[in-house]
């Protein structure tokens, strides 16, 4: 099942963006073939409230089974949980490619509660 990785640029070798809702890009990748596409989230990253809801809906619509990111707030967490998407935390300063490798090696911690408090606008 496909995976979404939040990144700072539109490339699988870009660094993981530690924010979920306000990430610049989502790299949507098939872990088997490692074929990937980039989804632009920059408009949402600049939006006011509800970035987590919007981002959660975008990745759910991509049909992914998991998200790899830094932190998720309560709204994003609820949206992703409703879509049955698991959330994994990548470490600091790693590329999406490296995060994917660790995910496949089952080295990434899974997140079952929001990791940061919400931000409402």
């Amino acid at each position: 099942m496909k995976v979404a990785i939040t990144t700072q640029d539109n490339d699988i070798d870009a660094l993981v963006d530690p924010r979920f809702g306000r990430a610049a890009w989502f790299i949507i990748v098939d872990p088997e073939s490692e074929e990937w596409t980039a989804v632009d989230n920059r408009a949402n990253a600049d939006a006011g409230g509800g970035a987590g809801v919007q981002a959660g809906t975008i990745v759910a619509d991509q049909g992914v089974g998991a998200v790899i990111t830094g932190n998720v707030g309560p709204n994003a967490h609820r949206t992703l949980a409703a879509a049955g998407v698991s959330v994994y935390q990548a470490g600091n300063g790693v590329t999406a490619r490296e995060a994917l490798r660790r995910y496949k090696a089952q080295e990434l911690p899974v997140v079952t509660t929001p990791t940061v408090a919400g931000h409402w606008s």
Binding site: G93, V116, H119, S121
Partner: protein, 301 residues
């Protein structure tokens, strides 16, 4: 290298938060400064930056009624929950741009397609240059809301500036209150210093804003400014916040040099005095705490 971000907040205004941030800027030895108090941005008054290019900021849209297609049916006024649609004596409808929250419901229900949404420029932001480092600051248009979004933008630019210039620290002058702007100042930060004063209202407001900080599970410390104004209350506040998990609580006694520095347009460290020495000690402790939370950040990353 991800920059570390220290946010200085106060709950209540007038406690000396901005003076503390300016002093820290002088002591940090290279940081990006972010003025998140966009409603009443004052940091530039003591840092005297060389102003950067101003950029427009737009965070909301507002309904506009075209008079030509409008048939005057009044459906827009009926559905608006914000009292933003008004009717002139000669039956012309218009939108109060201050009251409009941009929900676009009027546009959607207008049978004559006479309403469109337009984005509103409601602030400016810039990256200026100070002798202590780049300063990202902004100004919200008067009578504008959504300052939380501008705060988020200032912090985003501060982070980008820190990455671009290889600076390890962002020093943010946080927004007042407990609502959206302060929440926007805190989200994703690494360490919080709350500046308060030993007054009944200072204590009350500190309690409320620390509830917000604890909601974020952020490490925090407290600086009691003008501590000698009410030594008993200073002691009580200090004990309170340590019991609530503050990493440390420091005090700074009242010193007329703080206001004198402001009048002279410099930070209090440059100006000198008793308060400057106490603030320097608080900075040293804050810097140590930032370093420690960095090591302890693995679970959070």
């Amino acid at each position: 290298m991800e920059p570390r971000e220290l946010v200085v907040i106060s709950g209540k205004g007038g406690t000396g938060k901005t003076s503390v941030v300016a002093a820290f800027a002088a002591l940090a030895g290279g940081a990006v400064l972010a003025d998140c108090d966009v409603d009443a941005a004052d940091l530039h008054l003591v840092l005297r930056p060389e102003l950067g290019e101003p950029h427009d900021f737009s965070s909301r849209s507002c309904a506009v009624i075209e008079p030509d297609p409008c048939t005057g049916c009044g459906r827009c006024a009926e559905v608006c929950r914000f009292d933003a649609v008004s009717r002139s004596p000669d039956d012309e409808y218009s939108i109060d741009t201050i009251a409009c929250e941009g929900c676009a419901l009027c546009m959607r229900v207008c049978p004559a397609d006479a309403i469109r949404m337009e984005s509103v420029v409601n602030g400016v932001w810039m990256v200026s240059t100070t002798r202590f480092g780049p300063l990202v600051h902004a100004r919200l248009g008067v009578a504008e809301d959504n300052s939380g979004k501008l705060v988020t933008h200032v912090r985003k630019e501060a982070r980008a500036t820190a990455l671009r210039e290889g600076l390890p620290l962002i020093l943010a002058d946080g927004a007042p209150g407990i609502g959206c702007p302060v929440i926007a100042s805190l989200t994703g930060a690494h360490f919080v210093l709350a500046v308060t004063e030993p007054t009944v209202s200072g204590r009350h407001d500190l309690e409320r804003v620390l509830q917000v900080v604890r909601g974020f599970r952020l490490p925090f410390a407290v600086l009691v400014n003008k501590a000698d104004l009410n030594p008993e209350l200073t002691e009580a506040v200090t004990a309170d916040v340590l019991a609530q998990g503050a990493l440390f609580a420091r005090t700074v006694d009242y010193d007329p040099a703080v206001t004198a520095a402001q009048v002279a347009g410099v930070d209090v460290v440059t100006y000198g005095g008793r308060a400057a020495a106490a603030i320097e000690e608080a900075w040293n402790e804050t810097a140590r705490a930032l370093a420690v939370t960095e090591e302890g950040d693995v679970s959070h990353a």
